[in-house]
Point group: C2
């Protein structure tokens, strides 16, 4: 335990459910490295703890932490959060963690993708990534779940599914030569079909402007419900994000999902440009080979990088005039869930946001407590 299954989820009748379906709980990793997180990661640890506490109001949270940070994490986290030792190179459970798949009889398995720190030695964000690459196995060992080892570089944040056969992704990321240079688009599609068990892939072009993940879809656009998506947006035509979001909007409005439905698209206006301050930059160790955090650099802020929990939605906040409107719009979409904002500047400073640091573990044995009703 876990067995490594020499098959694919699709062949075995397993598929990835939507994030809005019931969860057993949520997995997070604890931030630590001082060459990505300012001030020895102390502000980030506070922010991660706040996210974990917010999610734990809705579902059990488990946090993986290095030996060195175990006692500190245990001290900073609420007692009802489970803290387990899982070494890592950085704290992005969405991307290095397992992707869980389920079947109709209530079984859960995990997909263990190859991970290369968003680009390997050709533009990856740090070196090495050996510990990150073991995170899926370690999670599945703890949970005693069987594993599929997928022979393709893939990050959980680079796709979203509706659990009914449709997958959203971006060409910028999945076709980037720093991920799987030897694989054609059709071969990559076949891996998505085989491992996530989808029928239809909607390809958006680019992710959020300056997103250092090579344009993960989870910062740009996600499923709220089958047939319903949220898209980060700006009304400012002079902002480079405008063309990206407008292009995605056009693709989405002209798409049909695997069930033949047109998509309902909700625009969520982005925060104003978020720039790294000099003080913030100076708090980060400079290490050759790790993504620099330079003063004045614009960060890829987006409210779409939220996490959907059982009965809740945890949304990044940036102390920005668009914070409240984003919460209000999301609450109007997620009528049956409580929408909760959590201050996330310290997370975006590290290169991602709430969705990027979380990974839901589905509960196929539970009926949805809170069916999502969207406003049409």
């Amino acid at each position: 335990m876990p067995r490594t299954i020499p098959s694919t989820p699709r062949l075995d009748g397993f598929y990835m459910p939507g994030e809005f379906e019931p969860h057993i709980g949520c997995w997070i990793l604890w931030p630590e490295r001082p060459d990505n997180w300012r001030q020895g990661a102390k502000p980030a640890q506070k922010a991660f703890a706040d996210v974990a506490a917010a999610i734990s109001r809705f579902e059990p949270v488990s946090i993986g932490v290095s030996q060195a940070q175990f006692r500190n994490a245990r001290h900073l986290l609420p007692p009802d959060i489970r803290v387990v030792e899982i070494s890592n190179n950085d704290s992005w459970m969405r991307d290095c963690g397992p992707t869980f798949v389920i079947n109709k009889t209530g079984a859960v398995r995990g997909i263990d993708w190859e991970f290369n720190a968003w680009g390997g030695i050709d533009g990856g964000l740090y070196f090495p990534w050996d510990l990150d690459n073991l995170v899926p196995l370690k999670v599945l060992e703890i949970e005693r779940l069987d594993r599929y080892k997928a022979p393709i570089v893939m990050e959980g944040g680079s796709f979203h599914v509706d659990g009914q056969g449709t997958l959203l992704t971006t060409e910028e990321c999945l076709l980037n030569p720093n991920r799987n240079p030897s694989l054609s688009k059709s071969v990559i599609e076949q891996y998505l079909i085989d491992y996530l068990n989808v029928e239809k892939i909607i390809w958006l072009k680019q992710g959020v402007y300056l997103d250092e993940t090579s344009g993960h879809v989870d910062n740009l656009c996600c499923f709220v419900h089958p047939g319903v998506v949220a898209l980060t947006w700006t009304d400012d035509r002079s902002d480079p994000q405008y063309e990206i979001s407008a292009c995605a909007y056009d693709i989405l409005m002209n798409a049909t999902d695997a069930q033949g439905r047109r998509l309902e698209v909700h625009k969520i206006h982005q925060p104003n440009p978020i720039l790294i301050s000099q003080a913030e930059s100076e708090g980060v160790d400079s290490v050759d080979g790790t993504q620099p955090r330079q003063s004045g650099q614009r960060l890829a802020g987006s409210y779409v990088n939220f996490y959907i929990a059982n009965g809740g939605v945890i949304v990044p906040q940036f102390d920005d005039p668009h914070d409240q409107p984003a919460l209000q719009t999301l609450q109007s979409i997620f009528l049956q869930r409580k929408v909760v904002g959590v201050s996330a500047r310290e997370i975006i400073l590290g290169g991602g946001n709430i969705h990027c640091i979380t990974q839901q573990q589905p509960n196929p044995r539970r009926e949805a407590e809170n069916p999502i009703v969207s406003i049409v």
Copy 2:
């Protein structure tokens, strides 16, 4: 999770069951440190893997392993053994791990004793022991079990219980000033009563000759069943072990247990003296502050250091003429279990044996599959 319960097991109706009662599984730590285990711990890892595989025929086994050894351990261990990351200073789960207690309604909790590496800075076997001291918490976090934090230095190998109110221990260990110098015998007894929920303590004098744990009872004597004990023995009156075993025998034969029963005592003849060879000694790193492993040093070999699993008994073997008689005697005592010998020289070279490296997690919801019937 886990909550730390500010009470004691006795007050809450929890008690430690006998090792012969049903288990959920067994916990082990993975040997690694080259200043205790020869040849970079490679022979010991093989021996630990053999023990784990033998136990896993009878019940699930979980192995805690450092980040550095995770992949190697996963490779060397059978796939049905769960491997989880748990840092440690050395690999003696019996002594640094949690002691599990249960109640009559089927709940399980863990006791987290203070651990000081068998003597702290006054004769302890290595320094530091900070990671070992976190092992109980880490196990209980993984298992989502509540915890009692016991404010006393105690090792799991220093006591045995019959699950019916009786505890066996040794004065050499529990009254050693390098454990709890400020506590009197009666205060130490009260901790045993409060945390293990026993009524009667049978004090033996000394543990096995040259046992570096300061005489843990688990290398000398254990319960096979309520009212029945196994005692390591020698017929050689010139051997220093003779007086120790004879003294223990007298005490046991004159004792009654918590239920008022006389004890049935089974003698298990010890192996011939086991001496560290020059080659074995030379394979161990010499580090100031760590117990030396000198050529010619006699080791505390004993067959009583076995592990009782669900339906099985895993017994150390030393390539010694007494191996087979020990297995035969134990099989005659454990009529309803399969007695399995495992080569254990590489474990005794590190200072303990099969019982010392294991920790059972009881299953209070399961009836015993294999009631133990002893020959009277």
